[in-house]
Symmetry: D3
Subunit: 272 residues, 6 copies
């Protein structure tokens, strides 16, 4: 079997690996995510029976991975920002493969400049709305808070959150929305879609840094993403927080690869 995710330059949608995990608070390893997503694509078909469409008919690019330094996240975020900026300027749609959730901030910062009315749709188990984590304001636990700081509450909606602090809870309740609500709220604004895969139940997806019991099924996530992509004007997206080293069965990596396949096909169908 060959990998459907591998270096190539064929279209507007552009995959970029962001192998960074230095602010992960519990179990590191998301740095290995992008590489494993590509490897796991080897065990899947390119055809999606659910969407009745084949990835072979979807032009897309895979730029490979950025070489991000570990430790202080500022230089890594700057590299992501610069890359996303270049892609936007080329009329491309950046699709980040994490890495930890903080990498999304690199994309969001750039998009906030290029699309001043951009809205954020956030799928996750965790609210990621802490102001800081042990004093660090650049943390995977604060990434959506940084987005809120940048854009305001009105331009962020969350789906699937089942873990937060007492302090985050009121904001979590006010940002929660289901798929039709999100589509109505977004109207025709450009949207950035960020999907932390730990929204899935740990049974389905143990390979992540902070598994949170009680999540949704693969089928639910897959259908939710396809519906959101179909209903929103997505200008960038990411799929983050696969830490494949935590799951020796390889099943988490395969789930991530299948989610990426479904998103690529949905983006392609939407775009055409």
């Amino acid at each position: 079997m060959s990998r459907f995710l591998a270096a190539r330059n064929e279209g507007r949608i552009c995959l970029i690996g962001a192998p960074f995990d230095s602010t992960t608070s519990y179990r590191p390893g998301a740095r290995f995510g992008p590489d494993e997503i590509r490897r796991a694509s080897q065990g899947l078909e390119t055809f999606s029976p659910g969407q009745e469409h084949d990835l072979e008919d979807c032009p897309f690019t895979d730029m490979g991975d950025l070489e991000l330094p570990f430790g202080d996240p500022s230089p890594a975020l700057a590299m992501i920002e610069a890359t996303v900026e270049k892609l936007i300027d080329q009329g491309r749609l950046p699709f980040l493969l994490g890495g930890e959730h903080l990498v999304s901030l690199g994309a969001i910062r750039t998009l906030a400049v290029r699309f001043p009315d951009v809205k954020i749709v956030h799928l996750d188990a965790h609210a990621d709305l802490r102001d800081d984590y042990l004093g660090q304001r650049l943390s995977h636990a604060s990434v959506i808070r940084r987005a809120v700081d940048l854009l305001g509450h009105d331009r962020v909606r969350q789906f699937g959150i089942r873990s937060c602090t007492r302090e985050e809870y009121p904001l979590v309740k006010s940002l929660a929305a289901d798929v039709p609500e999100i589509i109505a709220w977004a109207e025709r604004s450009p949207c950035y879609l960020t999907c932390d895969l730990d929204i899935l139940d740990p049974a389905v997806f143990p390979g992540t840094g902070t598994p949170e019991p009680g999540g949704i099924s693969f089928q639910d996530l897959s259908e939710t993403l396809v519906r959101l992509i179909g209903g929103l004007k997505v200008v960038g997206m990411d799929v983050v927080e696969l830490a494949p080293n935590m799951d020796t069965t390889g099943v988490s990596s395969i789930a991530a690869a299948k989610i990426v396949r479904e998103c690529l096909i949905a983006l392609c169908r939407r775009g055409s």
Copy 2:
């Protein structure tokens, strides 16, 4: 992240680790359960969105682990009995972290003396009603049978059983009850709640000695426990049979820790 389960002495509800697994018939390792539950608490928040309550507001004590000898279970059970007795005498509510299911017998023996009308509510995949296991009457497969010997059938109810022998089956059918039935049956009697985590589906909880395919989801177990604690007069409880060594993903340990968090909060809410 810090652990919310760690040595402290703050309240009436009292966690005690019972790291014993010498009678485990299939895959040992439950001795590592209490330590791993504490470690895994590091990856979870103290706030429960489901109960809208924070464990920070729930005073409880964690006594750490008993140092139980392996082999013949009699001395280990005697140590558990003595500890539970002391706690009851102090007006505390003992909450055992197993270890294998046999450790519950130490608590049940003491409670049968101190609360002569105590009733047992048993959540499990397995009936645990064998009279003996290869001749051993003190076995994790006989623990509820020993409780029935002590208290009679009328004072035991079971929930979730999906595995038993032909010989156990009639008794299993007569003891089976759902949550409202259990609450009605218990009336105002003091109850001991014993939860074998293998009631969960092995997809959710592979880290256990005798996983039994076809179990319930995390959400179902969590809600069932919260409802039972809300509706019963719980005077002691346990959560047993995490064998973390069987699950290198760590997901089973995190599930156990979250169940303990939900139970602690529910006990605290009930108590106040």
Copy 3:
């Protein structure tokens, strides 16, 4: 605990291990399946609460494993064909334990001769209808295509397929059926029932060569098999594609052993 699956010769239903996996395209290891199914039977009871029947009351034979050479599959298939032929001639019902899915072809070839009106009922995540895999026509990805070549489309029905190529898709749609449809279609024809365990969700069954996210639950598979066996005239069957090395929790092996237990009891109840 002792194993209920172990060498014995007690009845018409006859288990045979087929430890072969040389054509597996992604993750090999199904060769270890039969041995692990027997080992895992140690952790289960012989009694089925769902069927209210005990395997102890079901006479069956376990012939152990064929010693199949690896590499070119032709000699291994010839050995399976010869074994199945001998069993059919003895009036027995062959029940293969895979091994990869290609081993089914050995049984199907023999049954096509001995039961000229045999029909195939295929449970799987993957269509297995490719004409060849990298030029190899004897491949686990082509096994049902070889059956279709032999018997025609009209004598094959599929259940649970969620992955296929674009080329396979029209045939997949035409062969798909649910349980009542399969039973109606089969009428009184002799049926061969082939169950690729990767029909299960990878959360439940990660221990397989090509896990495909989005599958069915253990309970659904178990009930489907019991209903099919109850409604069809099964003259042979198999359970394939456990690759236990991919799942260090052992949960996949236990799921496979429980499926085999349920099938043996259902075959026995049907037969009596």
Copy 4:
């Protein structure tokens, strides 16, 4: 490949599995040792280049495993004693496969009666000379102390010990001997040879309950055992403390199987 260790009855040397590990103080799992030794024999040849002899030319019996109850070790020890007694009465040489080290006591108790001048040769990383372990006198950490109680210091010699308590240390120094010293000391007395595989370095043999860094190489252990068997009048022996679940590479099980092969060939050469 087929297993050279499997049920058969061909000679005087008689393998018996003793799958018991209830007194293991650290990491349980030695119960799975005998089964894994047999399985791992599949990956090895029957021919020993070192001894220039083939196991095919060595008649031996494999009785399979005793079905030992877990928990209190007394009944398990009684079953081992009875089995060894019967084998000695048949003129056979019992060769136990552990299981934890305590199982040796069953053999030693019987041999002390049948061979009143029996001597014990003990290979191990640990002294196993504690009087009790948390009060339990029947413990894997006390097994050689029980032998010393039974036979006196003069009839026990140790090889390879690198871990003990301060209290054990004087006795450890007095019992230590190298191979020529042991052979000279034993003279023509009947000897029981007990080999705890954790004498090996954990790099070579991680699959054990209490790995102790700084051990000997496989080649050293293999040659030591062959020399001891060649120089002593061995009337019984054991190889214990493989806990295969601790080593997912399988290498520990293969090392144990090769040690058993070398011992069987050496016993056979000595006997003929």
Copy 5:
């Protein structure tokens, strides 16, 4: 860190992955070897302190992996033969990364034609001199026997063999040689150097299909290969039998990558 093994075309020495393992008799997975060797190169420096030389100064090519079909080995061998032939015709030095040991036969067949006086130097734990394995003459256990058939005994020498059958043993003794003997025997003949990594001790290299206790150290293998490459006229070589799935620590893959680095540098130094 970046990978020093990755697609590039810079020199005469040419790496080709041969991800095939269908004839593996015990534990499959060598198909994943080439990919893991490249990935593991990420954790190593390009500089060799032992050779005081940097791989950065060694031009070499990495063609990536052949896409070999599984099952019958004949088409896979034909693809390897054709590839090696093409490389030889281009004046290149083929360096195969296995895959199982049978892949060497593809190279040997071609070299026997292009270099009629080619000699084979074989490093391994196993003799690989069986005439067939369960009837299959194309097997990893027969690969050197096929070379002997093709070239005669006089043109093959072995190093490190510690496992064979009784039947193979006389030939093993006659082919055994140490490094100076091999260099003297080879004279100025073109040599094919084939290195089965299971020559290493399983402590160092558990990630292989048939680990054989009692092997050599990493340092010994590394120095042996450097000396052989320095003393022979190597026209092709391979490094085979890494099965990375058997070793979740990743250490086997890193050892293989470092061996490849040392060989590339030694070939480069020899060549310049």
Copy 6:
């Protein structure tokens, strides 16, 4: 068994866990090192036969772990510096448990102030002398270079280095020394001893971020450390780079715990 490493305050030598690994370049997880070293102490005795001394007779303190933020290493280093400063002011000897190697810099910075003539003795597989790693000057690959910047070449010696870049190699050669050379060089200067456990062979110690094949044995490291501590005036030390998640056998953690035991006893013997 109980842990000899656990919270206590008994003496001048003071253990502090430094669970930080954000700059790890290859495989993260050293953050789990301190906790696992304590846990693994459970499987070892307190008595050292090699030093004929018992840890029970050695007063020492275990402060537990610092709560270090992940990401930018500056605040974590500042916390380590402040802690070490406080300990030095109390007349204590700080003994850090890593964490990645960068944590040593926190100690070295403080010691360079408090002991202006301090010398550094560095045991490691890797030189750690890079000026930066992908632009980050605070990196585990640059930690000894930062020490050289601070103190000059003359005050650093290295032992065991087997991996470096071409650029580092001249400095590596000039800093290399054996034990007697180090003791002679140090004279009566205060020394900081930093031990990266990856100096061990990966067979012995796979549980680390960048395993480097070809290392020393456990016995060699243990004896080297005992000799160095006996011959130097150690004013602080560390043991770093256990990444226990990479080694599911637990053997690496046990090796680390035994090294810590031997160092504590040696420090205690030296001090008294």
